[in-house]
Amino acid sequence: MGVDRMSGKLYVARSSQIAARKLDGEMMIMSAVDSTLFTLNETATVVWEAADGSTSLDEIVASRICGQFDVAHGEALQDAGELVRQLAAHGILLVSEEPIPAQGLAKKAGA
């Protein structure tokens, strides 16, 4: 898996095997596989919400992270790569070097 490869494009998508809900600005995600609960901070929530399978992580970081938070692109991309690696390891985010078809992906959680 090319999660650690920051030179190539990575595409991320929310797994269909989760339930997600945003409460008081905090994203809560439960795995349907083992009922583990994850809560995401503000930046991680931005990445999660933008993980539509067709937008690359690089684009998400450039347009959604660097545009909203005061952080250098390289540093933000490295942090985002680590985040998606961790979420992918738990099976709640899909990561690919190719765009991920929308079929079977989770919808963005509402408040």
Partner: protein, 271 residues
């Protein structure tokens, strides 16, 4: 389709918890008598039980007797296994079977799981919490083992009615949420009273040097609630329902952290 083995059943008992009646039938009247004693206070005379179970008494025949509980759904049929029992039921026909040795611990577990699944579809849940009714309102005291559920239940004054010291039964209602008494006991080994009332507050228990109540923000409350809900199904639809229910609950019921000292004075803050 499961067979409901009515032939050979010489005895049965209907156990009604949270308004849901489960008829349990077995060939051995001694076993049924044991259940009547165990669930005294929750035995119902309702003829129209919501669920019907037949219990086959014997070794459950599971592969691993030390295995944790496993809950799966296949073609609309729920299967539940633990080292000491096997159970399966069809929600559509509301009938099922349990294979276990003659003890009440196994059927206790089956009932908890059955009710947790039924409640999940209705926006309710079973919660690791003591609960009691005072002045017409129900109060829940949640926490992991050792947090003080049994302690605070044991400290309850005479004007409080104990619903449980271990597993609270939460139902969604049009007006909010209600708590119902359960026969599920913790260290107190005293079944709750078979009554219910609207839930006025959920307290997250912590022992400390002084009695204190502090509001808990919604997201933190939802996380704490989810960590205390009994949930067994590895099923996407059920997980989604559970997460939705927890968020709904904390948006409608005040959640606070209750730090308390180990004496009766804490009940001065409750009710």
């Amino acid at each position: 389709m499961l067979e409901l083995a009515a032939p050979g059943d010489s005895s049965s008992v209907t156990i009604e918890i949270g308004g849901i009646a489960t008829r349990v039938a077995a060939a051995d009247p001694t076993f049924v008598q044991m259940l009547e004693n165990r669930y005294a206070g929750f035995v119902s005379s309702r003829a129209d039980a919501d669920f019907h179970f037949h219990v086959d008494l014997g070794e459950p025949g599971v592969a691993d007797p030390d295995a944790e509980v496993s809950v799966t759904q296949d073609s609309g049929c729920w299967s539940v296994q633990r080292g000491d029992f096997r159970a399966e039921w069809e929600p559509a026909s509301r009938r099922g079977r349990i294979r276990q040795s003659p003890n009440h611990y196994s059927i206790d577990a089956v009932l908890r799981i059955l009710h947790s699944l039924l409640l999940a579809r209705q926006g309710g849940f079973l919660l690791h919490a003591a609960s009691a009714i005072r002045n017409g309102k129900a109060f829940l005291f949640a926490g992991v083992s050792g947090a003080g559920k049994t302690t605070i239940a044991g400290l309850a004054p005479a004007d409080a009615s104990l619903l449980t010291d271990e597993i609270s039964y939460v139902r969604k209602q049009a007006y909010g949420y209600s708590a119902c008494g359960t026969p599920f006991t913790g260290e107190l080994e005293k079944p709750g009273e078979n009554i219910s009332a609207p839930i006025a507050a959920l307290y997250l228990l912590a022992k400390g040097p002084a009695n204190r109540i502090e509001p808990v923000p919604a997201a933190e409350a939802a996380r704490a609630l989810l960590s205390n809900i009994l949930f067994f199904a590895k099923d996407k639809e059920m997980v989604g329902a559970l997460l939705h229910s927890a968020c709904e609950f904390v948006s409608r019921v005040p959640v606070s952290r209750l730090t308390f000292v180990l004496d009766f004075s804490v009940w001065g803050l409750i009710g």
